[in-house]
Symmetry: C2
Subunit: 443 residues, 2 copies
């Protein structure tokens, strides 16, 4: 059978619907949250081995990685007043702790990191800083990239001006009193101060109080702790190629999830999508010529230990990684695909784009980024692509307690699974080359 015809046949079968929703249900109901170093993490790995085997993948194995262990503690924020009220707060991943009894200070509110950096030290010293960064809603989630810098950097920027703690308005697009966690990092040389996120309505309350000339005062308790790094695993399975088994099309997603929710959209959905793509490739009437390798990475959320380990373990194999894609933007429909490659990639990708048209998927000229777990592959010249999913509602739930199964629509995740199935199978089955991508071309 012609490659294109084989891929189109598989696409049409996948588009009828598969087991993606059941896969997320199994992972989230049976395992639940699975942050690096948590009780859920090894259970999720065992689950992944079973799920890959059941999907018909072979060479299913766990590959060693090292991950940081950060555990959430108590977390409360009390707005001090005649009638004190509790604000919904959560520690950011990697934050140090407040004293056990908490700390108490006036709050300085700024709209952005730039506004924070423009403040004189005397306005900030001894205070709690709130960076009330607003995130814009959009289909492609571009607002996240713009806003999330505040989460990562607020603590160190504030600490350099003498702040004793830093809060951000949750990086999200909802109106729920459920804060969004996520990783932050400390800059070298800046004092380490506790960092948290307030729910959006709570942050906006402080913004209003300040706009009325008031000075809100908080008692903040955040008692997370960092333990020693721990051993962990990526879970890997394959559909071995029929003609070029050493050439690899990599499909990634991440198995870990933040502790507040159950990791349904982030990234149970991505795991389910790439497992469907693997299942479909394994059961295709024509085995793909190249190997499809499904990798469920450890520790994407707070350290990328899995990603680093994969790149190191498979370094010798990197020239044979011919195409890579990560599913890590929820359970929405794929609406466009962005490729990243040289002229050869662009020629080869044309076939893939035409295969996706019946799923109402276009392609864009803007180069793909690749998900965070496959980013290290770019330095080896591996062509990557993004199957962009509709993320209009994704950041309502992302990194919150609301990341649960009910947020997934069966028809949407089925479409995404069909799209990734088609891309992966066609990329693996085609005799065309995607070439190599000199890292400097786009960076």
């Amino acid at each position: 059978m012609d490659t294109m015809l084989a891929a189109a046949t598989l696409r049409d079968e996948a588009a009828k619907g598969g087991k993606a929703l059941e896969t997320v249900q199994s992972l989230t109901d049976e395992v639940g949250p699975r942050l690096a170093g948590s009780k859920g993490e090894p259970l999720a790995q065992e689950w992944a081995v079973r799920a890959m085997t059941a999907a018909g993948l072979t060479n299913v194995r766990k590959e060693a990685a090292t991950v940081p262990v950060w555990q959430r503690g108590e977390e409360t924020a009390e707005l001090l007043a005649e009638n004190p009220v509790e604000l919904a707060v959560t520690a950011l991943g990697g934050s140090v702790a407040t004293p056990a009894a908490g700390l108490e200070a006036d709050v300085v509110v700024v709209p952005t990191l730039d506004a924070l950096e423009a403040l004189p030290r005397e306005k900030v010293e001894g205070k709690i800083v709130l960076v009330a960064q607003v995130m814009e809603r959009s289909r492609d989630g571009r607002g996240y990239g713009k806003a999330v810098r505040a989460r990562g950097l607020a603590a160190s920027k504030a600490a350099k001006l003498g702040a004793i703690a830093a809060l951000v308005r949750s990086i999200g697009t909802d109106d729920n009193r459920l804060p969004h966690t996520g990783a932050m990092r400390y800059e070298d040389g800046a004092p380490k101060i506790p960092a948290g996120a307030l729910s959006i309505p709570d942050a906006d309350l402080l913004v209003r109080l300040v706009s009325e000339g008031k000075t809100p005062r908080l008692r903040l308790v955040l008692t997370p702790q960092a333990l020693a790094d721990a051993p962990s695993f990526n879970v890997v399975g394959e559909v071995v190629g029929s003609e070029r088994p050493d050439e690899i099309v990599l499909l990634g997603a991440h198995l870990d999830s933040w502790d507040l929710g159950r990791g349904a959209i982030d990234d149970g959905a991505g795991c389910a999508i790439v497992l469907e793509a693997g299942r479909n490739a394994a059961h295709a009437r024509e085995r793909p010529r190249r190997t499809v390798r499904v990798v469920l990475f450890a520790n994407e959320e707070n350290g990328s230990g899995g990603s680093k380990a994969y790149a190191k373990t498979h370094e010798a194999e990197m020239p044979k990684h011919v195409f890579a894609l990560e599913a890590d933007l929820g359970a929405g429909k794929v609406f466009t695909v962005r490729f990243r490659g040289d002229d050869a990639s662009i020629a080869a990708s044309k076939d893939l784009v035409s295969l996706l048209a019946p799923l109402a998927i276009t392609s864009e000229l803007e180069p793909g980024e690749g998900g965070s777990d496959i980013r290290p592959l770019r330095s080896f010249g591996v062509p990557v692509a993004d199957a962009e999913q509709d993320a209009t509602r994704y950041f309502d739930f992302h990194h919150t307690a609301n990341d649960t199964l009910d947020k997934i629509d069966r028809a949407e995740i089925d479409q995404a699974a069909a799209a990734v199935t088609t891309l992966a199978y066609a990329a693996a089955h085609t005799r065309a080359s995607f070439g190599r991508v000199p890292e400097k071309k786009h960076d």
Copy 2:
């Protein structure tokens, strides 16, 4: 000026927008939660005295009431498993406590109270019961009335069969991991067991586990306590009638709110709406012939102490209460008005209905119920009406931490305030009689 013309003029001025949103902001930002017996309650009363005075009401006063005092304690529900997960739970108002260390038991899930009552004792004894009652979304909120019985009665129905605790799927229409509290009551003769609500995604997780043949096991901690009844107050203000000052058109709302949120939609919005109606009547070019009395009731949520006190204090005045209305269904637009009266009421209400047409408000034949605070007035024959607000989203937030200012749309609450302004002013200014309503007519 003709009564109708005066009312139409006031309606058109009110429809341009008023201070309703600012009023809710002031109450929720400056006072916040204000459950009976809490720190916020007296602050809210002082706020109400100031707000009524600023609105131009006279005879502003606090009228004594007695309220129960129930205080929330610790509340956690852990789903026991290899990877234990926290479920989002809250105690129902009036619940007794578990032991401080909690209780641990298997969970029996039933879809309805009827299904619970059909179970044999041996299926329930020693267990935690979850009544997974589903609430239907609708514009008029009718799904609430059907579903809320489960919240009120689950504990006693379960206790009679030997259960050690009862949970309900939150009575709401959202998909957030924020449980809905609300009052429950114990039946005489049934053992008192702790009662709570799980968030909807958490309840549905247990439903799924049971449907797969599993037996979920929970550790449940709920440590609320009931203290002695306490003195409280309704806050009352008036626009004294120009011709018939002894005849009263009563506009009610409730000042108390559940502790989890900030009481913006329930019932800061209602307070703001009736305060706008009072403000508009006070500033009308023609003072209304009858007295408009605004009553912000204490303790609607968990005991109706304010409502009972009002009916008792004003018993002698009841024959002079000619019309009553309570705003307690959020901040949405009014879409219909339901009257409750005899033939005289129906004749008089026709004028009111025609005045409301420019606000896109219809009337319905189904009789009005009157809000819960003015229900006692019905036994004195007082004609009541409901200005039905669009409650499509109300039960997403009702009785949860999500009841915050940002859930209110300015144009919508302005329309509701204009509608109640029009109804109240016309009812007070008209020379027509609304008659009396024999209690038996509808009950």
